[in-house]
């Protein structure tokens, strides 16, 4: 029986992976080949999707991008045993794009069968949890603190410190909440793990529960990810059936229950307090802080809210020890970061590496420049609230402090590439527009400021009194930054100001004859 892998990841499906799988099954049957088809997650080399892999002698050989129409010729070229077909890529692990990565959190993604807990375990899964089950809660927290892990959802807050607060909070009931709202454009790391290695998240959440004394967790998945949500529910059901979840976790006598919940199309529900409101069944409006969610979170109980990647990194830290994780990275940014290359990029996909790669290395070496073949002009890093970077700043190393020092942020690790046809005035306008659409409406600088900002930039774009209107936009940005209750209003100035500072020529426009204010 030869094992053939065709990803069941949503992105792979979006370019025809199901049809490829069906064609392989059909032709194999017709030709009498005994083939076991595995629907793995994605390896994250999206320009090669659907990436079909064949296992020969324990090694995996890739073909891609494969269309259903290629399948007959793959069999004709005997792809089950040879690499003669033009789509042959050779041994997948040796592809330079993958070989140059340091995959810790994504070590199994794209490799295992995400529907099989046994496969997860066979590839090293559950080792972290087994170790944690033998540890005192405070020791688990100390291990996470010493690893240097910081939140991967955007704010970069030290995870161990958050956990310690929840551990020390009194209360008969505590919660672990996984933030899988992944609202930032240009990001898909959470989605890939939910679809490619969901037991990793479950393991991380059980460890978090042991660490802080919580017995219930929620995974809040955005509704824009219907496929990932179904995969999550299926993984939770099999984890429960296998005793990884429930009243007696792996026979330890410890309890942990988990539920997946669907968001409902609101970017603001990625913000942790808004997410908690949403889970409780209310409008997703921001809560005033304090109290911190760690003290009074879900239903008023002490609650850990962590990004999915943060939680999914915990099993590796527990399995290999804090020091092994902390040894990766630069400065105060320890460990690895899954960087997600997106937009107009030749080789779009997931690059997990220690912090410290420069933007040039990310965009040029991994990304291979633009998909259009035109020059790169700008990248936006960190989602819709992240800065636009010109190529003159591409020597900036990817780490929390280095990015902040230059007026940007790492965020959740999304890097969106634009070629020289981009108009940064329009991108800045979009930042305001997005803020206006997604504002929760609780505070004035954000609710009104975003609308005013978009209107004022419309005037700039029409060439109407640009100097005065640009000054107005800058003032407005200051008001939003200082006066907003949360980072949606507070950080919308980041893409706007970076566009104004680094791409002033795009705002200097001729007045249009028809433009009347």
């Amino acid at each position: 029986m030869i094992r053939v892998f065709v990803p069941g990841d949503a992105a792979a499906l979006s370019v025809g992976a199901d049809a490829v799988a069906a064609a392989i099954r059909e032709v194999a049957t017709a030709l009498g080949h005994a083939v076991e088809l595995v629907r793995n997650g994605s390896r994250g080399l999206f320009w090669l999707e659907p990436l079909v892999e064949v296992e020969r002698g324990g090694q995996r050989f890739g073909f891609g991008p494969v269309r259903a129409a290629d399948v007959a010729s793959l069999f004709a070229a005997d792809f089950l045993s040879a690499d003669r077909h033009p789509l042959a890529l050779g041994a997948v692990e040796s592809l330079p794009w993958l070989a140059r990565q340091q995959r810790l959190t994504f070590a199994r993604c794209g490799i295992v069968d995400p529907a099989s807990l046994a496969d997860y375990e066979a590839h090293g899964g559950l080792a972290g949890l087994r170790r944690a089950l033998a540890m005192a809660p405070a020791d688990i927290v100390r291990e996470v603190t010493e690893s240097g892990l910081r939140g991967r959802g955007g704010a970069g807050f030290p995870t161990g410190i958050k956990w310690k607060t929840v551990l020390q909070a009194e209360g008969p009931r505590k919660y672990i909440v996984c933030n899988a709202d992944e609202g930032d454009s240009g990001t898909y790391a959470d989605r890939m793990l939910l679809e490619g290695d969901p037991f990793l998240l479950i393991e991380g959440m059980v460890v978090a529960g042991l660490a802080v004394g919580a017995e219930k967790g929620f995974v809040y998945v955005r509704s824009e990810y219907p496929h990932a949500f179904r995969r999550t529910e299926a993984a939770i059901a099999s984890a429960r059936a296998a005793g990884l979840l429930g009243a007696d976790v792996l026979g330890s006598g410890r309890r942990f229950e988990l539920e997946a919940r669907l968001g409902a199309g609101a970017y603001i529900c990625g913000e942790e307090t808004s997410l908690l409101e949403s889970l409780e069944g209310r409008r997703g409006q921001i809560r005033f802080k304090p109290p911190l969610p760690a003290i009074q979170g879900l239903f008023g109980r002490p609650t850990v809210v962590n990004n999915l990647v943060t939680l999914a990194t915990v099993p590796t830290i527990l399995a290999n020890g804090a020091a092994a994780y902390r040894d990766f990275g630069s400065g105060r940014s320890r460990g690895t970061m899954p960087i997600q290359l997106a937009g107009n990029v030749r080789h779009g996909g997931l690059v997990e590496r220690a912090f410290g790669l420069t933007l040039a290395e990310i965009v040029e070496e991994f990304g291979g420049g633009t998909a259009s073949g035109r020059p790169v002009r700008a990248v936006q890093v960190g989602g819709p609230l992240g800065a636009y970077w010109p190529t003159s700043l591409f020597d900036t190393p990817f780490d929390y402090e280095a990015f902040a020092a230059r007026g940007g942020m790492v965020g959740h690790g999304g890097v969106v590439v634009f070629d020289d046809t981009v108009d940064l005035a329009r991108q800045a306008r979009f930042a305001f527009h997005f803020c206006a659409v997604e504002s929760c409406g609780k505070c004035t600088p954000c609710r009104i400021g975003a609308v005013r900002g978009a209107e004022t930039l419309d005037k700039v774009i029409r060439g109407a009194d640009p100097d005065a209107n640009i000054a107005l936009v800058r003032d407005l940005c200051e008001v939003m930054r200082d006066g907003s209750l949360c980072a949606l209003g507070g950080l919308t100035p980041m893409p706007v100001i970076s566009a104004l500072d680094h791409f002033p020529e795009d705002f200097d426009r001729p007045a249009q004859a028809c433009a009347a204010d």
């Binding site: 949503a10 999707e49 454009s185 959470d190 069944g281 997600q340 937009g343």
Partner: protein, 163 residues
């Protein structure tokens, strides 16, 4: 979300079914969103008349339930068209011609974003990121993700009368 049965049903209001769904899910911690999603899956929209019914089962005020329904983009108040196209309008898709695609779809369908074609065939909506940003531009067509989307491909998927 756009379940397969979503907009196609456009079924008449059925208070009994709403009560059944609400009572089945009311034991959850924070049951309101799961109930509203279940209504979307079943009926394709949240009927105005469902609001007092849910409020009664959950012992909430109508205003509270109404406030939640209106806050979230997902909970439609009216049935959608027979097909729903949700095109990503966020940055990674903009970088790959997403705005031209949006204009193309509006022109060819003869409808603006947020609207439904006059024949009730297609509802066109904006979303902001589908997590397919390395294969942009992206769209969800009747709940199915499409990568490297173009107008012809999307229109072909919604050409038929039914799903």
């Amino acid at each position: 979300m756009d379940g397969p049965a979503a907009a196609a049903s456009g079924a008449a209001f059925d208070a009994g079914a709403v009560i059944e769904i609400a009572e089945r899910l009311q034991g959850l911690e924070g049951p309101l969103l799961p109930i509203l999603h279940a209504l979307m899956d079943r009926f394709g929209h949240v009927d105005e008349r469902a609001i007092p019914v849910i409020a009664e089962v959950l012992n909430l005020s109508r205003a509270e339930v109404h406030g939640v329904v209106s806050f979230y983009h997902d909970f439609r108040r009216m049935p959608a068209g027979r097909h729903v196209v949700r095109q990503c309008r966020a940055e990674a898709c903009q970088a790959m011609g997403g705005e031209a695609l949006a204009a193309d779809l509006e022109r060819q369908l003869g409808v603006s974003f947020g609207g439904t074609t006059a024949d009730g065939r297609v509802t066109l909506e904006a979303v902001y990121c589908l997590g397919n940003c390395a294969l942009s531009p992206a769209a969800l067509v009747d709940g199915e993700l499409v990568g490297r989307a173009d107008a012809d491909g999307i229109l072909a998927r919604v050409a038929g009368g039914a799903r």
